[in-house]
């Protein structure tokens, strides 16, 4: 659907300087690769790929603020959780349609992110990292709080339902959800790409690289930083909402600290300050733990940790770093 038509045209036009033909082929290949599972994969695989796409969106959000803007967040799982709960509560308590929850989750998380962005301004590097980390620890506990139990379902969480394909499309829930997620992911990735290629994007990176200089150049660094935090949180919140719909369940245990760590790992593995990197990060965090488990049932965590460390040894710049090097070689 959307992926088929929008991918080649928009991406190609976003890179006008490049020879369009060379990329058109690549983009068609990507488009086909994205659509292929729809017809070949079992619904369980589709579900996994859907999760990977959702994580990719969430990681992209994190990458904007941490990778591009240099504000280290170890607590993006908190926004993911808030997005998921917004979706679940809207669907379960108010009977609202699933599609309406997505923009709402993004907006709510954007506002929360904006709020967090203010103290973040005053907290440099490490302090911000640790503060956001504790936010990630606190959120599950806040979700359990009895004062809001009526909404959040307390420790029991909230069950929701997957949507059917609209307009009588001959697709299963899993197929439809996969398409929807991939389409949204493409949209978000393109937006992020265009944002980072724009003047604002350059300013966002300038703040990371030369904070004082950027300010001296007349940029309103504070506003830009809080806005970046908001956009980042909004994107991650959107992913959270999608996850609630795909998993059909939210509970405090779904959003423990490990989630924030997972997102961070995905970002580093995919490639810091890269648009395409998070897509690989999403695949990594969904599939590599299963792989680790195949290796050792006794201690899958040890294997996963070793794979992660080895991966970073081989590719300190993540998958995106590797791609950049390959591209440079091709161009030479």
């Amino acid at each position: 659907m959307a992926s088929e038509t929008t991918t080649p045209t928009v991406l190609a036009s976003a890179r006008p300087a490049r020879p369009a033909l060379r990329y058109a082929g690549l983009l068609w290949a990507i488009g086909i690769a994205l659509l292929l599972p729809l017809f070949t994969a079992e619904s369980y695989r589709l579900f996994q790929l859907t999760l990977a796409a959702i994580y990719a969106i969430a990681i992209l959000g994190l990458n904007l603020v941490t990778g591009y803007n240099g504000q280290i967040s170890l607590g993006h799982g908190a926004f993911y959780a808030v997005g998921a709960y917004v979706a679940a509560i809207m669907m379960d308590k108010f009977g609202l349609p699933y599609w309406s929850t997505l923009p709402s989750a993004a907006v709510v998380c954007g506002l929360v992110g904006y709020g967090i962005g203010f103290p973040a301004l005053r907290l440099g590097g490490l302090y911000l990292a640790l503060t956001t980390f504790s936010l990630a620890v606190a959120v599950p506990q806040i979700l359990k709080y009895k004062g809001i139990e009526e909404w959040t379902g307390g420790v029991q969480g909230v069950l929701v339902f997957k949507p059917d394909a609209p307009f009588g499309l001959p697709l299963s829930n899993d197929q439809y959800l996969y398409l929807l997620t991939v389409a949204i992911a493409l949209g978000v990735f393109l937006l992020a790409r265009n944002l980072m290629a724009s003047r604002i994007g350059r300013a966002i990176m300038a703040i990371r690289d030369h904070g004082l200089a950027a300010e001296a150049m007349g940029m309103d660094a504070a506003r830009l930083k809080t806005s970046t935090f908001a956009v980042s949180a909004g994107i991650t919140g959107l992913a959270g909402a999608l996850s609630a719909i795909a998993v059909e369940f939210v509970s405090p245990d779904s959003f423990q600290v490990a989630l924030s760590i997972t997102l961070f790992v995905g970002m580093v593995v995919g490639g810091v300050a890269s648009i395409i990197g998070p897509a690989f990060g999403g695949l990594f965090v969904v599939f590599v733990p299963n792989l680790a488990e195949e290796v050792s049932k006794a201690a899958p965590g040890v294997i996963y940790g070793i794979i992660l460390i080895a991966f970073l040894f081989v590719l300190p710049g993540g998958v995106a770093g590797l791609l950049r090097r390959l591209a440079a070689r091709l161009h030479r």
């Binding site: 369980y44 359990k144 420790v155 969480g157 949507p163 369940f249 969904v286």
Partner: protein, 405 residues
Amino acid sequence: MLNRRTLLAAGAAAIAGPLAAPRIGHAADLTGVTADEIKIGSIFPYSGPASAYGVIGRLQQAFFKGINDAGGFQGRKLNFLTYDDGYSPPKAVEQARRLVEQDKVSFLFNTLGTPSNTAIQRYMNQRKVPHLFLATGADKWADPEHFPWTIGYQPSYRTEAQIFAKFMLEADRNAKLGILYQNDDFGKDYVNGVKDILGPRFDAMVKPVSYEVTDATIDSQVVQLQSLGCDAMLTAATPKFAAQTIRKVFDIGWRPKLHFITDVSISVGAVMNPAGPEKGVGVITAAYLKEPTDPAWANDPGLNEWRGWMRQHMPDADQTDGNYVYSYGVAKCMMQVLTQCNGDFSRENIMKQATSLSGVAIPSLINGITVSTSASNYHPIRQMQLAKWDGHTWERFGGLIEGAG
């Protein structure tokens, strides 16, 4: 969306008929069963914060391997597929779908954790795949009307709390009870159980105080309960915090008339001895399992069977870990179901036999406690027995108590 929901509700009602009585199933669903094997699915937290429970899954791997090495079960190999969910519900959904859709297991067995099982329960019932003997003490699994394919195993925490509350009322109608509970489904079930019994008197009689698993100590909570004037205490905590509680209560010189403790935390080796055996004298619990480090069971034939099995199949495992006893028992129970199937391993029949257990004795259960189920009784283990710590062992007293269920 509303349409869909009503539709589903109607659907649930519609399927409830045939499902509530799986025995009348028409075309037998033999997924996961071939002439040479039966595929069994399982999910445990082998990694992450709850990995302590991974040992349950590890014993079961060894258990089914042992059966296969000895020639299999009625000529079939029991192919036990177990995956890690890291105690994360989304991951549990993924693994459950992997087991059901990709590996095509016959049924899921002993999946662990209330959140993870909540996340997959509806899926399992929509797919009509047996979801047997969940490793969680939540009360909600016994709901044959809505979820005929899901059945729990152990007595619920809530039932245990009800037993404690009744006992307290008999001892002292005006006791003031302090509850220290872990702020999750496990802990809250104890609060709810006490509420069930005390009803409107709850607020006046009870002071519940919670702790988080991330807390370093529970000192503050214990001090708080003491200064609020509580004269009875219920500790719904995991072993580490339970041991801390017993020690702290003693150390600050607080001597509550009654101190109840969840049966999750009655290990002599991991709770009572670390706390200081003399500090816990008089603490009361309601148990259904034999505790491997309790000298009372040193020569118990049932536990000796388990010990012999452990020596043979898991010689390096830590025999003081009660999770192994639990796991061995539930695996035995599973074998009883498969035996009762009498060669018909359709999903319908497996579910039917799992809900037709009558008085099955299991070596790990306190003598006299048996497993019984029926189409309307989805509480396999309903009995417990009170026991008091005497400084060396849990001294059982009174008869078996049938839970409210």
